[in-house]
Symmetry: C2
Subunit: 221 residues, 2 copies
DNA sequence: TTCATCCTCCAAATATCTTTGGAATATTGT
DNA sequence: ACAATATTCCAAAGATATTTGGAGGATGAA
């Protein structure tokens, strides 16, 4: 492809660089993970089920596109999203896919199941209920993500452990589960598990990144 | 790459399809043109300076990604954006590029010049001024795009013809020029030309697609 | 220093994308 | 039927991306 300096072509080429960064499922998964908080390369590789060398290469591509920043601490290199706008654009991309591609809508339904049937709770309602004490909120993401940032007052119950800890949950209070975002299956899955056990459970509409982006408070280390 | 049916991988793969559609400067240019209204393949090829066969191939890719719909009329195939969300996401992509990539910001400045110095007029202010009669609005896009859709009351003065028609413009009224959008150089360029001729001119903030997306009225054939 | 750990870099193999010119197809009008 | 126009399809060449395994560099701990 031509270099194309100084003209409209050069500008379009720059825009396309961002498109290219978002053109690969592995990179999109890394962005999802990074939206939960900064993580080391090796940690990301494990969480995404990718080889280390490949993870490093993809993170380098994201960095070259300006979507990710890094911080070196000792032997670790921590990566994080460059800003809220990254997450916002990725979400717009996903929503566009779901709206415009029947195959995407179908894949979303296959992965998430029927979320509407679980009557998701909105941000505002959860915030109100937390103030009133009429709901308990649980964070069903892996513990490391809870540790990086969570909704104040949330209990960390990773999905893996939910079944074993069901009896410790209140039967007389509404339980709201949240996870990584609107395309994360953890919270809906958790709500189903809890409902099957006779609890009153709902997923949060959107996950922690959306909660934060709405200007609501989070608790960080 | 794996097929990956039924799982998270399948969903991410669908999201990445949209990313891939936006990963190429030629396709981004076609999307820009389509945001101005539906056009035939051959017309788009001419406007974008691309070969016909390539234009057809890229449009096919956009169609496969669900971003573009087509309508056949006689011997022509008219393409149009599948919805407002397409334009919105493309704009988010461009803004992200400009914010996160220094090279993109630099290319934008090189292409657009210093737009802020031209004191762009916002949508609300233009709407008000048009009601009051305290501004004249001119559409400096190619005539075909004006014909497809324009701001009610706008005069069509394609940038090519502006120099020849400067004397017909009022010297005692504020003139607002608009074009394809925030990354189109026509309106800023027109404002500079008019100012150099002693007129009071400004570009509109954002172009016709943004005006329409803000819910303001347009005039269509 | 030596070791273990984390990460990046490299080369190679494979796959995908882009662009071109020309052939093939479709539609309309004569 | 024929010609003219608009579009798609095809094959080929070149350019980019993706992924892997392993080598090598950097850092901190023993």
């Amino acid at each position: 492809m031509m270099a194309g300096t100084g003209t409209k072509t050069a500008l379009l080429e720059q825009f396309a660089r961002i498109g290219r960064a978002l053109a690969n499922p592995a990179r999109l998964e890394l962005l999802d993970l990074l939206a939960q908080g900064e993580r080391s390369v090796d940690d990301l590789a494990r969480a995404a089920g990718m080889r280390l060398s490949n993870t490093s290469a993809q993170l380098k591509a994201l960095q070259a596109a300006g979507l990710v920043h890094t911080r070196k601490e000792g032997v670790h290199v921590y990566h994080r999203l460059a800003g809220d706008d990254v997450e916002h654009t990725v979400e717009a991309l996903k929503d566009l896919a779901r709206t415009r591609l029947a195959a995407a809508e179908q894949a979303a339904r296959a992965y998430l199941g029927d979320v509407a049937a679980l009557e998701p709770i909105g941000h505002a309602e959860l915030a109100r209920r937390l103030n009133e004490g009429t709901a308990v909120v649980i964070d069903v993401r892996p513990a490391a993500e809870y540790a990086a940032s969570h909704i104040p007052g949330a209990l960390s119950i990773p999905l893996d452990e939910l079944a074993a800890r069901l009896d410790a949950l209140p039967r007389d209070t509404r339980i709201v589960a949240y996870c990584r975002g609107p395309y994360c299956a953890y919270a809906p899955e958790a709500a189903r598990t809890m409902r099957a056990h006779g609890l009153t459970a709902h997923p949060l509409q959107g996950g922690l990144p959306q909660w934060r982006r709405a200007g609501l408070p989070t608790e960080n280390p």
